[in-house]
Symmetry: C2
Subunit: 526 residues, 2 copies
Amino acid sequence: MLAGVQLIGYSTSGLGQVTFTGHNPATGAALAPSFRQATEAEIDQAAQLAHQAFAEYRRWTGPQKAAFLEQIAEEILALEPLIATAQAETALPEARLVGERGRTVGQLRLFAQWVRQGHWVGARIDRALPQRQPLPRPDLRQMLVPLGPVAVFGASNFPLAFSVAGGDTASALAAGCPVLFKAHPAHPATCQLVGQAIVAAAQKLGPPEGVFSLLHGPAPAVGAALVQHPLVKAVGFTGSFAGGKALYDLAARRPEPIPVFAEMGSTNPVFLLPGALRERGEAIAKGLAASVTLGVGQFCTNPGVFVTANGPERSPFLAHLAQALAQTPGGIMLTEGIRQAYGQGLARLQTDGATPLAQGSQEPATRQVAAQLWQTSAQAVAQHPHLLEEVFGPVSVHVATESRDELLALARQLTGHLTATVHGTEADLAQYTDLLDVLATKAGRLIINGFPTGVEVSHAMVHGGPYPATTDSRSTSVGTAAIARFARPLCYQDFPNHLLPNELKDENPLKIWRLEEGEWINYKMT
Amino acid sequence: MLAGVQLIGYSTSGLGQVTFTGHNPATGAALAPSFRQATEAEIDQAAQLAHQAFAEYRRWTGPQKAAFLEQIAEEILALEPLIATAQAETALPEARLVGERGRTVGQLRLFAQWVRQGHWVGARIDRALPQRQPLPRPDLRQMLVPLGPVAVFGASNFPLAFSVAGGDTASALAAGCPVLFKAHPAHPATCQLVGQAIVAAAQKLGPPEGVFSLLHGPAPAVGAALVQHPLVKAVGFTGSFAGGKALYDLAARRPEPIPVFAEMGSTNPVFLLPGALRERGEAIAKGLAASVTLGVGQFCTNPGVFVTANGPERSPFLAHLAQALAQTPGGIMLTEGIRQAYGQGLARLQTDGATPLAQGSQEPATRQVAAQLWQTSAQAVAQHPHLLEEVFGPVSVHVATESRDELLALARQLTGHLTATVHGTEADLAQYTDLLDVLATKAGRLIINGFPTGVEVSHAMVHGGPYPATTDSRSTSVGTAAIARFARPLCYQDFPNHLLPNELKDENPLKIWRLEEGEWINYKMT
């Protein structure tokens, strides 16, 4: 039976008197076991241990860190009750959770592979020029080094892939940073199981104790204490705007400000151009309805707004879309709080003058919610910009524009988003290059003739974007580029070769790509 | 005759009623002309113009931006009264200013070369896998794109290389970001001349008007208005901790927070190990004295603290150092305010219990200041950590430690610095690897057997470091890596080849290095 306590290094600790439980979202019933909220002393103990661990873990080699990440993947796959536990806490279907576990494990393995290769440090070498006039140039070598202990806050909507062993933890550990994970109060047992898997992997592979700790607590004070702890050097967060912004503000006001990488979701606007709707309106309608309702609409990249131009193709498209949506069954949301916020968000749409366009089904006398489509005009959006803000759940707002200028003005009015999507024929796209130009300043990922849900874990992915989608547009929280969030460049000047890190030694023992005098040098040539 | 007005795009503007002048630091005399402080309306006009310019300038190609940067270099070299003007405003010697102009021009040309090559965008390509199970992979391509208009604040101590056309401006323009430059009130005429050179280059090369504007004003309100303007998307700053931190706080509290890259200086500790002092104590003493007093000690990388271990080699070394310093003539500091702050800093050393060790000379009845050496113990530093804080000017504080443990404890007590230096023989370094490990967590650049002054402009340089040396340790303000501060990754999903930026097209028309499926691909092979 799971014990509801903190995991601090290789110990457990349950000093706190405040307790809480997860809940079954379908019934509202409290789930066993009861969890103790972390105390300030426990948070401090975990942070001290992480700080001590950093002194050694920062010098772990790529292959050492890779083996650790791969062992975490193995331990997760071996967790017997994981899927059932996550199902009970989140109401997500088994197949989805099995898939998400696969994504989590694949992500750990990709980061392992990437740090084993070692290219990620971005080594740069400018060799000494002792004869240069008027002054000699010293030998200068640069590479990325880890920042220090990272506090990570997981998301409610991906209890595995964006949680305890998710992308933030994987990229921080890959960079060489210890992780202090704040368990999500909506799935504490799932967090505990995965936390135990990480501890088990650590005990087998031998990183210094404290490289990982797990702390529980629904109270904002627990997260605040973590972010404000002087030994914490960066924060990773996935969740609501309110939550992410609060942590950003706390971190910026510390005596020593630290970076916060908060991915706070967005409305992910989709622009549907006339030719595309004429040629394949029905297929787009089906694809959009599926994207809006996927996982009961609980994706950061859910398309919460779609925009059409005026034309005869609009009505038949909307009819197809309404039909597709009407066939969508109801779903249970992740928590009662999220379900209530969804209702409030729909009420806000009404207040702001949007009108209902279509609705999915919903089992009576259950906690299910129905998918929804709403409709508004560009004029209304200009007056009520709130209409473009995220309502977390299976809803999308149709903005009907009356002219090309109105459509472009709407695009210019957008704030920052994770994604922006355009459906168009070749002719449409040629006619709307200015739309693409505007959207390129608004989003972290631009999609043509696809849908934003589905975030590939790869080298080229960007899951980020201008504020308020994130608090740092210069980063991604998915894909191998995510490691750079938790690292900084360090320059070694005139070091004897044997004192340099292996990444920077003359003989390039790791055989990594390095920028030498401004040219990437292929280790295979040397 | 120079007009003391704002340069807003291709126009000049002098709407403000508040005026100010530069001053000759050697005499205190006001210098002509008088400058008008920018009004809020002028700041807004410049920001609006920059925003409009960004829509086009962000799409300028590498060769276009390179030609613009190179033309700026040409225009600066052609500025007839530049050196004399800067001399009058800063009291820096002619040879130093000529050298600094060379550095400025060289820096512009290096950034030009780097964006012409185009590697800087860090292109990453993961091609579509339409047959992949269970889901196909879309085509994903990532590259860096510019953030938008950047507000830049220059430093007092480098009126050319860290000012109007300095590293921040060069890297922002190289990234594709318009620059709103806040002229330094200590050298407004120098700023005006260089600003005119940039405008002249722009008029010849044709970037959109507003890609550069220059705004004057000693009042904090001018800088605050720039940083708080909603169309400004990032800030570059070099100067004092108080100034940089104030801008950071303003930026973090905006409705849309923006990144601030403030390089705020540091004490740049130097550790002198016993063997090195035995073998070449006199040479180290001469080198250290020269580094402490270079440019009247007005360098961000000035070694403000040096640490010795207990041993018989210490006394003779200190005697050599005192002798070298005593031979150093006095110097005129950049401004009267800086001169007064230097005096206050020395008084603070006394208050905190440090004692004078040696002093340079000083012409009586002038505004010259004398170089100084002070001495304290590790114990005193533990009680008065202020002793490790920067006193801007030609002074260094000797911390005498009594044991290896005390020396290491002192290193652990350090906050973030731009640089940390160790002088040691092979045997010293082997015995003090733990010192190097600690310093690697404290600085942006580690130097062995050299001195921190002298910041090479190259690919591998890091001029940055953990807080409080900067507000963002994940960046450098010198060297080609500085461009990344003003850019963010953008991912293109399933774009038709002809709509992709050239950096990401299948045929790699720019012949840049790209990370394809996790391997850097050599364009020369393709």
